[in-house]
């Protein structure tokens, strides 16, 4: 029986220009397909957008709090609460003595009268104060360490030394709450990472499920394309591009959500900062969040689409 020595090879298109052109066409036609059902497309994209916006927004919030606390970190101070029986003259003497220390940059005395005035002004307990027959507040010397006294440990060592003064009842490091805040933000930050991972998984499943439904809806089309010689890559392509578009749309929605939240919060935050005599204002979106949304969105979309396509496309075979 006669046989051909070798079967002819199939011709495959390996021209990169044609290949790129086909991809460009396919991505546009996928976008066109999505735009033909705008409501459902937007709804899916909005879910993705919210899922992406949540970790980004939280991250931004934590970032802002951290910036706020770091700006306070530099001005860590020690408050020396003097014994009640120390007179104003003695208090001034304590202040001068402390000011002589080499690690002290600045000292300020708040005597008992001033302390009372300040308390009356800020606490809102003015009338209650009137009822007391004597001033319950101690005099305070506020000490700002020199810039080279860095970190909580050094400042609290300094506070311990000052504590030994006879006139000083209590040396309080005002850094502690800053440290606690930083620990809290650290915890929240970790939570944000966990949330980001969970919500990324959610985006993956949302896109995957949307593409799965899309594959089911185009069952007969896929069958016919396979019948006339469409490769798996050809059939896969529009769905993968749809996934990317969903991710990109979701990222755009997430970005606008975060930016509009920042805009809405800006006024109240400025007002709040004004009450604390601070110049603080919300930072604009940070590069990491921006990168995460703009690249993470499409990437998750692509991954979700790939998940659906690899699971469901092989099931469809022409009859």
């Amino acid at each position: 029986m006669a046989r051909t020595p070798k079967p002819p090879k199939f011709q495959r298109n390996r021209n990169p220009v044609t290949w790129a052109l086909r991809h460009a066409q396919m991505s546009l036609s996928s976008l066109g397909r999505l735009s033909r059902s705008p409501i459902s497309t937007l709804m899916t994209a909005a879910v993705i957008g919210i899922a992406l916006a949540m970790p980004s927004g939280l991250h931004l919030l934590v970032d802002n709090v951290r910036q706020l606390s770091s700006s306070w970190d530099g001005s860590a101070s020690v408050s020396l609460f003097l014994n009640e029986d120390v007179s104003d003259e003695q208090a001034e003497a304590v202040r001068r003595q402390v000011a002589l220390r080499p690690d002290v940059a600045e000292t300020r005395l708040i005597d008992r009268t001033q302390a009372l005035e300040e308390f009356r002004g800020l606490s809102g307990f003015g009338q209650a104060i009137e009822l007391l027959d004597q001033n319950p507040l101690p005099a305070v010397v506020v000490v700002r360490p020199r810039a080279d006294v860095q970190g909580a440990a050094a400042v609290s060592r300094m506070a311990q030394e000052l504590q030994t003064y006879r006139e000083i009842e209590l040396a309080q490091v005002d850094l502690q709450w800053v440290e606690r805040l930083s620990a809290i933000t650290g915890t929240i930050e970790r939570g944000v990472v966990i949330l980001a991972v969970l919500l990324s998984g959610a985006v993956l499943l949302i896109v995957g499920n949307t593409i799965r439904l899309e594959i089911q809806g185009r069952h007969s089309e896929i069958e016919i394309v396979k019948l006339v010689g469409g490769t798996d890559a050809f059939i896969r392509r529009p769905f993968l591009y749809e996934g990317i578009w969903y991710g990109l749309l979701g990222a755009a929605i997430a970005l606008s959500l975060v930016l509009s939240s920042l805009y809405l919060l800006d006024g109240p935050v400025k007002h709040l900062a004004g009450l604390y005599e601070s110049q603080f204002s919300l930072a604009v979106i940070d590069p990491l969040s921006l990168f995460g949304m703009v690249f993470g969105g499409p990437l998750l979309g692509l991954a979700g689409a790939w998940l659906a396509v690899s699971r469901h496309l092989a099931d469809i075979q022409p009859e």
């Binding site: 051909t4 079967p7 002819p8 007969s220 016919i224 394309v225 006339v228 010689g229 490769t231």
Partner: protein, 238 residues
């Protein structure tokens, strides 16, 4: 240049379609084909007849690799289909045009887009696609219908769209499974005469049909299947 010229790069001694003792058993235990030997030379045209369930569709499906044989070997255009990898199946199908009784058209696309599908899938450029689709439409006399949707066409016209789609990529082999099943005798004859025209330019055709009266009026080979076996073959009795 005629539409169907330069098809079928033949390999001198090799038949276009060859079945060597081919059997197809389904998972249900039903035997679609059992021990079929068959040769179709390049440029040959043959009718496949037999009662329903005799194995006509199974035989065509094995050639188009919609299914694989459970025993024996199927050769098409010089390739052993048993040895064809799954990733090569699409490329094989581009060499085998398939026509179905139910047309298998996409109803959300125009006639033009339906016919263009095999070319789009093969990555052909726009200008070439336009030229080829128009030529195919001309062949099946549907030039004026390129912008309409298949649902607005008659059954005979839809079948012609299906035929145009099968031949637009100039495959060396055309398979048709009951292409005239739902058509009246006059339209059926028109379709068959179209196939004869394609055959005249060198396409190898295998047409499954049970319309014995119609095919007897053509002077072509007739292969009769019964219970999954070749019961009669006009090429061998002559």
């Amino acid at each position: 240049m005629p539409l169907l010229a330069a098809v079928a790069q033949t390999h001198d001694t090799e038949p276009m379609i060859r079945f060597d003792n081919v059997a197809k058993r389904y998972a249900t235990g039903h035997e679609g084909l059992s021990g079929v030997d068959l040769h179709l030379e390049p440029g040959e045209m043959a009718f496949l007849t037999g009662h329903s369930g005799a194995g006509k569709s199974t035989l065509l499906r094995l050639i188009g690799l919609l299914e694989r044989a459970t025993r024996g070997q199927v050769w098409v255009n010089g390739r052993n289909l048993n040895k064809l990898k799954a990733r090569d199946i699409p490329y094989h199908r581009r060499e085998v045009g398939m026509i179905f009784q139910d047309h298998r058209l996409l109803h959300d696309r125009t006639v033009f887009d339906n016919i263009a599908l095999p070319l789009v899938v093969a990555g052909m450029g726009h200008a070439e696609i336009n030229r080829r689709v128009r030529a195919a439409l001309d062949k099946v006399s549907l030039l004026k219908k390129e912008k309409v949707y298949p649902i607005t066409l008659s059954g005979g016209e839809q079948q012609r769209v299906g035929i145009a789609r099968a031949l637009v990529s100039k495959p060396p082999v055309l398979l048709a499974d009951e292409p005239t099943g739902n058509l009246d005798p006059e339209l059926s004859r028109e379709i068959m005469e179209l196939f004869v025209q394609f055959n005249q330019v060198g396409v190898t055709l295998l047409i499954a049909t049970h319309d014995v009266d119609l095919i007897n009026s053509f002077d072509k080979r007739i292969i009769n299947l019964r219970n999954g076996r070749v019961a009669a073959d006009s090429a061998e009795t002559e």
